[in-house]
Structure formats: C-alpha cells, structure tokens
Symmetry: C2
Subunit: 192 residues, 2 copies
DNA sequence: CTTGTTGGCCTACGGTTGTTGAAATGACCT
DNA sequence: AGGTCATTTCAACAACCGTAGGCCAACAAG
C-alpha cells in the first residue's frame, strides 16, 4: 500500500498509515456519513487536524483509504470451463479477509462517489474477464453485470446486512452454490 | 396504509401521509443519515417540528415510513416447478414501482435498525416460500438466503449502485437469466 | 548554535443536525 | 358568544460536523 518507490520515506508515514487503517475500519463499520473524521482520528490516536493536513478533506481521505485491487487472475490464463468457480472462490477469499470491500459497499449504497468507484472497479477488473470468456464480446457488459449482481448480492447479505443463514454458510458451500450461477452468466447462451 | 378502521379519522391525516410520502422519497434517494428531518419537512411543505410531534423522532419516522409487504403469492398456491420464475417476476415488478424497497436497502446498508428490518422482511415473507418448495425443510433458511442474495444483488446493482449494464437490462431479460438461478437455489440438490 | 522544515496538538469558526417548548392559529361544540 | 382542543408556526437549544490557522517541539542542514 505505502510503496517506498518514490524517493524519501517520510517521517510521518506511520501516522499516515495509522490514519488509513482507522479510516478503513470506520468506513467499513459505519459508512461514509457516520464515519466522522473525529472518530477516525480518535481510533488512530492522533488529532483530527492531521487528517486534514495529510489528506485534504474527507473525500480525499476516503479516496486514499479505499483503493482496491481485486487481484483477479489473468484473463488469459483463465480456463473457460471453470471461470465461475475460480471467480467465486477468489471473491469469497477476498471479502473474507479484506474489510475495504465492505467499506466500499457500505459507502457505495449512500454516496454517489462511492457508487461510481465501485462501478469503476467492476468495469476495470471484472469486465475483462467477461470479455475473455463469454461467447459474444458485445454481451460482455451485461454478463459481467449479472455475475456481479450475484457476487455483490452475496457480499451484501453476508457481510453488510448479515442475514444469519448467509453468515452461517461455509465458504465451500458458497462456492458450490454460486460457481454454477456465475459460470452460466458468463458463458451460457441466453436462456430459453 | 392509513386505515380508517380505528375510530376517528384525524384532521391531521393529510399532513401525516404527506410527511410519510416525503420521508420515503428522501430515504430512498439519500439513505438514513443524509435524509434530514428538515429536508423531509420542506418536501412535505410543513414545519420540521410536525415530524417530531407525529412520529416522536427520526427512528420513529423511519419505522412508520418504511413498512413493506412483498405481497408474495400464497406459498400453497405456488407450483414447485416455476417458483423461481414467479418470484423473480414478482420481485422485479415490485422494485420497479416501489421506491420503499430502495429506501430500505439504502438504509439497511448503513443502519443497524434498517438491516434488522430487512432481515425480518425476508425471514417472514421469503422463508415460508422456501419452506414450501425446497426438498428438506431444514435447508430452507440457507436456500432462502441464497435466493435473496441473488434478488437483492440485482436490486443493489440496478437500483442503488446503478451499474449501467444492469440498468440497461430489460425486465424480461432479468427474469430469463435469474429465474433458473433462484429455482436452483430453492429446489435443486446440493451441487456436486 | 542558528535556521528552515516537518510533525503534532489545540482552539475556534460557521454551519447543520435532531429536538424542544412556547406562542399563534384554526376548527368544532355548547 | 366563548371555551376547548388539536394543529401549526416560530425561535431556540445543545451537540456535532468538516475545516482552518496558529503555536510549539523535534529534527535536519548550514
């Protein structure tokens, strides 16, 4: 996240990443409006004004805190036949360990900028996969949207709304049920 | 909504329903935190204090404004073979014309009470259907959760996040793609 | 040591929020 | 008519928000 490739590692880097960590946590738990700068600062044990100093304003902080790389496998190396299983496995893994995704989903539900960012992520990262494996490239956006409706729907019910039966599902169960769905959305012909 | 069964129709009923209408609109558009009482009151052309007088506080207003009957078909009259198609058709119809559902989803994403209410709706209304059509009653909660993950996922991408390809889908396309999924979640055996 | 730069805390401003209570208005009954 | 009560208006409160600027300590360079 904090790559040291650009010249000088600043003395304030520990503070900066502490802010980002707290921001991710608060955005994930509370959404955009209720995750106040003051609360984030308190969680990071620093003064609220530091947030302003380093990230300009609340939107800047959000942009810096929530940058996501889904780390999807290279489309080229993806077998057409188990794209569904691969994707679902990967997504569950990702959501399970990464609170940033929950933060982004929560914020996207009430915040225009958040929704657009989420849109961008799926356009940039899921769409190429769809373009690669689906029969007609022209259908790729629709098919990627269908696949993401299922993937995000699971995330919504399991990690945000926390429906008890959705929380109770084991990761393998999720994969077993969802993989055929996603596979079908990506590769099957338009259903009769 | 405003049933006149309990004795006296109050003189303030027009104001009360005007408040509820405006509240539904603002909650759907902005979510819980950003839908301010003042904005709702302005939309209803009344004074903010009326909201307090009639609904106690903001949570009370939300509870009064967002009560949902999914109007699902009677489980008894539901054919096992096209439960999926029936449900998806019904849901799309409902979401398409009813902004309350969008409001509830937006609020559920950032508000604990909203999430619980959404939970209750699906437990009370979708679960009986699952119990009726799914092979083993013990699996009903998990199967209902899977079905709602797909249904709510579509609602999320189409009505809240507004992914362009999801918005572009025609209702018939949605039904064609999603019906087999929901059908499978409800009735098919655990996938290999 | 002196100087400039960076990191950090403190205080405060202007605005908005949910909420309250008192005063004004109106409708209805005798 | 006068009185009673629900309805509405108005002004204000305390709390909180994002944000700005000034002040001091720690450090680096000369």
């Amino acid at each position: 996240m904090t790559s040291s490739l650009s010249s000088t590692p600043r003395r304030s880097d520990v503070t900066r990443t502490a802010i980002l960590d707290a921001a991710r946590e608060r955005f994930a738990a509370d959404g955009y409006e209720r995750a106040t700068i003051r609360a984030i600062a308190k969680h990071a044990n620093i003064d609220p004004s530091m947030v302003m100093r380093y990230y300009g304003n609340k939107e800047g902080l959000f942009a810096a805190a929530v940058s996501i790389d889904l780390k999807l496998p290279d489309p080229a190396s993806l077998s057409r036949d188990d794209a569904g299983r691969t994707l679902v496995t990967h997504f569950v893994d990702m959501w399970e360990k990464n609170e940033v995704l929950t933060a982004l989903l929560r914020v996207g539900a009430t915040n225009q900028a958040g929704a657009e960012r989420m849109q961008g992520i799926f356009a940039d990262q899921l769409l190429p996969v769809a373009r690669r494996v689906c029969p007609d490239p022209e259908q790729a956006p629709a098919r990627a949207a269908l696949a993401s409706s299922q993937l995000l729907g699971l995330a919504l019910t399991r990690y945000v709304l926390r429906f008890p039966p959705a929380v109770a599902l084991a990761p393998e169960e999720i994969v077993a049920w969802l993989a055929p769905t996603v596979q079908r959305y990506l590769t099957a012909p338009y259903p009769a």
